[in-house]
């Protein structure tokens, strides 16, 4: 794998994570349990879509084949997506959405922190901008996870169920492969093992305050960030997200 193709793959991972999660969160618009949450969810989705424009824009530049961020978002099929399985999981109830957000935010925050020191200035600049937004995302998602877990019996039960459901998708974030290793060697990406330690410290503190039990299993689902085997959910998302571009090729909107 050349450095350029590893960089392209790596940027797709960053951009597809924010694209797919931003899309999922945007599905809540108008349907949240309380008005303030509706506004906060839209805020997070907007930040993530904005980050997508930057990551995929840079990916297109690095690829050098003339593809724009929109081309990459709207005209690739499932096997070309490089997002983590976690972010494509359906919203479920509000607790599941916030648990997914909190797990991703804790990873995302640590990742972006390291990326602000990347040897590639373009990546460092995007990471610095995104980090400000993601710091707020984690504040909010962790506070909400804690509040709901330490709320009523029902809200606690639902949050524990959400954690149990989503925990098998945590491992993929920290399992390095050839792309991660090449990017680490190039001084761009962090060492994922060290990142895992910081993630665990953060998440353990949140789960302790939330009175939730971390699942024993260390089994990790995989296949999202390599594109080898996504879940069935992603294809359905793409049928909506890409529909207009696919149905009316070449039109300008």
């Amino acid at each position: 794998m050349t450095d350029q193709s590893a960089l392209f793959e790596y940027l797709l991972r960053l951009g597809d994570n924010t694209l797919v999660l931003g899309h999922r969160v945007s599905e809540w618009c108008g349907h949240a349990p309380v008005l303030e949450e509706d506004i906060a969810l839209a805020n997070s989705a907007l930040d993530l879509i904005g980050q997508t424009q930057m990551w995929l824009g840079l990916a297109g530049e690095v690829e050098g084949a003339g593809r724009s961020a929109d081309d990459l978002a709207m005209l690739r099929d499932v096997w070309d997506f490089r997002n983590l399985l976690l972010v494509e999981q359906p919203n479920g109830d509000f607790g599941q959405t916030l648990m997914r957000q909190c797990l991703f935010d804790a990873f995302h925050l640590e990742l972006l922190t390291d990326l602000t020191r990347a040897s590639d200035d373009r990546i460092a600049a995007i990471a610095a901008k995104a980090l400000k937004e993601v710091t707020y995302h984690l504040d909010r998602s962790s506070e909400t996870v804690i509040g709901l877990s330490d709320g009523t019996e029902e809200s606690h039960r639902r949050m524990q169920a959400a954690l149990d459901l989503l925990w098998p998708y945590v491992g993929e974030m920290f399992t390095p492969d050839a792309v991660d290793n090449a990017m680490h060697a190039a001084g761009i990406a962090p060492d994922l093992t060290a990142l895992r330690t910081r993630f665990d410290t953060r998440i353990d503190a949140i789960l302790a305050e939330a009175t939730l039990t971390k699942p024993d299993s260390t089994y990790a689902q995989s296949g999202g960030k390599t594109g080898f085997r996504h879940s069935e959910h992603l294809g359905h998302m793409l049928t909506q997200m890409q529909w207009l571009q696919r149905a009316y090729p070449g039109a300008t909107w």
């Binding site: 899309h23 839209a42 907007l46």
Partner: protein, 325 residues
């Protein structure tokens, strides 16, 4: 206009108090929450501001319907930001209503069980991407006609909420018109979509101003109190006069064969919408009334455990803080 056919409440207060109150309004003073006000004024405002707030909230649904299908990342972000603004408008307006001693939860319950209304326009479906353009251009355009004068309304909190809302609404209208421009100048299929959207949204937009109110006693009282600033007919005429040249610029045809410029009145003559359809819609028989209310009820019911959970957590934290003191 997001508040339609708001029935003004009668008032039983002493004539001298009413006269003093009217004098304040006539002098252009703002009425503030702690000031004395006639019961009818308070109740009419609750109904109007509540209906306006509900319209913002239900109004998220027809546009939210296209967020996941927006054609580009930029369009998705703009639409998301716009729908988020609507939720924010709902929030300001519920806060303004709360200054009149009614809680947001009480108002929400009245929306959900059908005791309070929201604008008829949101009971129409959004079927193509061009509808995002038409809603911004026509629906927000009609709303602005009503809301700009309401910045001068007599009730302080309502007036201040409208000032903030109007700033955002004009951005919404521009982005809607921009979508229409792209479509109208686009492929034949896009142009067809744009015309179809105008055909479906033209008359429902005219209905937003409500029926002719020249004979309405309620309307007269609201105007005297400066809760309502213009008649429905004045605003509708202004809207048509502004919108027809915009449609011409787009190369689209307003679906009204009788539309003519009238030199004498300096405005367009145009066909009235089908008022029987309007009354059907506000009675609950519009194309989407059932879905819209069902969606709001579902969000509220399924969110109950979240609200209860967060309240319980807040109570625990308060108790812990108290125990520590």
């Amino acid at each position: 206009m997001y508040a339609q056919m708001v029935k003004s409440e009668s008032t039983q207060d002493a004539p001298e108090k009413l006269a003093a109150f009217q004098a304040r309004i006539d002098a252009g003073e703002k009425i503030e929450p702690k000031d004395w006000m006639p019961e009818g004024y308070r109740k009419t405002l609750i109904r109007q501001i509540g209906q306006h707030a509900h319209s913002e909230i239900v109004g998220q649904l027809p546009e939210g319907n296209w967020i996941t299908r927006a054609p580009t990342l930029e369009r998705k972000a703009i639409l998301l930001a716009k729908v988020q603004d609507e939720a924010g408008h709902g929030l300001y307006l519920y806060c303004a209503a709360e200054t009149l001693a009614v809680s947001r939860d009480e108002l929400t319950e009245m929306l959900l069980d059908g005791r309070m209304k929201y604008s008829s326009i949101f009971n129409y479906p959004t079927l193509t991407w061009a509808d995002m353009g038409a809603v911004g251009w026509l629906v927000d355009g009609a709303a602005i006609m009503n809301q700009v004068p309401l910045q001068r309304t007599s009730y302080g909190p309502y007036s201040r909420a409208m000032i903030r809302i109007c700033k955002e609404e004009s951005f919404h209208q521009r982005q809607g018109y921009h979508i229409m421009m792209k479509m109208a100048q686009g492929t034949p299929a896009q142009k067809k979509m744009a015309q179809d959207a105008l055909n479906r949204f033209w008359y429902p937009s005219l209905m937003m101003f409500g029926p002719s109110d020249k004979d309405s006693v309620h309307s007269a009282q609201s105007m005297k109190w400066k809760i309502k600033m213009n008649t429905n007919d004045e605003l509708r005429q202004k809207f048509v006069d502004q919108t027809v040249p915009q449609a011409e610029f787009l190369g689209l045809t307003v679906p009204d064969d009788t539309l003519r410029w009238n030199e004498d009145k300096g405005g367009y003559d145009f066909a009235e919408p089908d008022w029987s359809e309007f009354f059907d819609v506000i009675q609950g028989n519009g194309p989407c009334n059932t879905e819209r209310l069902a969606a709001r009820n579902k969000a509220w019911d399924e969110g109950a455990w979240v609200r209860e959970g967060l309240m319980a957590h807040a109570a625990k934290k308060r108790a812990a803080k108290l125990a520590a003191e």
